[in-house]
């Protein structure tokens, strides 16, 4: 039997036991402050056209979705990168810690992806009066999320060797992220990158937005570390069962 891991210490580094509670506290404070700023510290988004009338594309109160939708999208992509990079490391080194990290990051990315897709769909309904638009970026985002769901299903049901199959899927998902980010021909979804919405935000909106991003980074790390602890516990349980079978305690 291997050394018994401390399940409350997912990182296994000195002082790491404090990581989850500290990050959880930071994320709670940050998200609470973000909600306050978004609803009381940022102006409504609207503009006037040349005729002095309100722009039809003005989002008004609906723009409040932006702060959390985009913050989740940032860390969805972050989670997919962590998952892909950890999978590469696992395939190269075959060390279980990389597989644990990849699995945890992918689980969190499924949750963040669900938030991005749902909030984006509601936003589309408000802005374009449709729940879904089959434009390239949205479609690619949905496909990425389905790949991530596939990863989770493979890990759960594929049996022996599932880690390596899942690692391949995670790498596939990671490669797709830049295409989503830079998807050309995106006719409805706001642009990203240098001329994108984030970098051209009004000054009063930038501060709250980046506070949201940092707060959700803390939240993302809390979830990933917690899930790593859970994954380590699953690995520990598998090893205990094998040991029990070896001893004849289990049948």
């Amino acid at each position: 039997m291997t050394d018994q891991p401390d399940l409350n210490d997912p990182i296994g580094a000195p002082g790491a036991k404090l990581a989850i509670p500290v990050l959880a506290l930071l994320s709670a404070l940050g998200i609470a402050y973000s909600v306050y700023l978004v609803f009381y510290g940022t102006p409504l988004e609207f503009g006037y056209n040349e005729a002095g009338k309100l722009n039809g594309s003005s989002l008004f109160f609906n723009q409040k979705i932006f702060y959390f939708h985009v913050a989740h999208a940032f860390w969805l992509f972050g989670a997919v990168f962590v998952s892909g990079a950890s999978s590469i490391a696992y395939l190269v080194t075959r060390k279980a810690k990389w597989d644990d990290l990849a699995s945890a990051a992918t689980d969190v990315s499924v949750a963040f992806g669900a938030v991005v897709l749902i909030t984006g769909s509601v936003w589309a309904k408000a802005a374009w009066d449709v729940w879904w638009h089959w434009e390239p970026r949205l479609t690619m985002s949905l496909l990425l999320w389905l790949v991530l769901v596939g990863y989770v299903l493979v890990r759960r049901f594929a049996g022996a060797g599932a880690e390596r199959i899942a690692a391949g899927m995670a790498i596939f998902g990671m490669v797709g992220v830049p295409f989503i980010y830079k998807m050309v021909g995106s006719d409805s979804h706001p642009a990203a990158g240098g001329n994108g919405v984030v970098l051209t935000l009004a000054p009063e909106m930038k501060g709250p937005f980046w506070i949201c991003v940092v707060s959700f980074l803390c939240w993302f790390l809390v979830l990933v570390l917690s899930r790593v602890a859970s994954t380590r516990a699953e690995r520990e349980l598998r090893e205990l069962r094998e040991h029990g079978l070896d001893l004849g305690v289990l049948q």
Binding site: L7, N62, A111, K125, L240, G244, L247, G248
Partner: protein, 180 residues
């Protein structure tokens, strides 16, 4: 007839004459009184008729006076805007008055447009509230479900690991005795 009876007879005659004179006067007044209404009604009727005829005559005369002047022929009609412009050019006071009225009306219209824009924005804000609520609800529900999933899974894993460890420890304790 005696001398004493003569003055009496004279007095009687003069009294009779006074009574007759009084009767004549009374009859005359009575006749005048009786004749008065007939004369009044006849007079009023006559004056009404004459007044009516005079009134109708006056209205006819008034109608004749109120008739508009004869309009110019259609070919002579001019563009009102051009006419106004020419009048403004001809009279600076008139131009100033017209400009003032136009500015006031434009200001009223601007105020109305501003109010409409605010009302439209308010309607948009109201309309979009529900979408923001949907989004935030979805975000918190997904987060809560994920945390609940993590917590329950961790609890189940910890319990199962503890149980297995106890069984394995017990088996390890029993193994030397069995072998011995």
């Amino acid at each position: 007839m005696t001398a004493a009876t003569k003055p009496a007879m004279t007095f009687a005659k003069s009294a009779m004459a006074k009574l007759i004179a009084l009767g004549v006067v009374l009859v005359a007044f009575a006749g005048a009184a009786v004749a008065q209404p007939a004369a009044g009604s006849a007079g009023s009727a006559g004056s009404g008729a004459s007044a009516g005829s005079a009134g109708s005559g006056a209205s006819v005369a008034g109608a004749a006076e109120a008739q508009p002047p004869v309009s110019p022929p259609a070919s002579a009609a001019i563009d009102p805007r051009r006419a106004c412009t020419e009048a403004m050019n001809a009279d600076p006071k008139f131009a100033a008055a017209i400009t003032k009225v136009a500015d006031e009306q434009a200001a009223v219209q601007r105020d109305k447009d501003t109010l409409d824009a605010h009302q439209s924005a308010y309607a948009h804000v109201q309309k979009n509230e529900k979408h923001v609520i949907y989004s935030y609800a979805a975000m918190w529900i997904v987060a809560a479900l994920f945390v609940l999933f993590l917590w329950r899974r961790q609890q189940a894993l910890n319990a199962e690991i503890a149980s297995l460890r106890r069984d394995l420890a017990a088996a390890a304790d029993d193994a030397p005795k069995g072998r011995a």
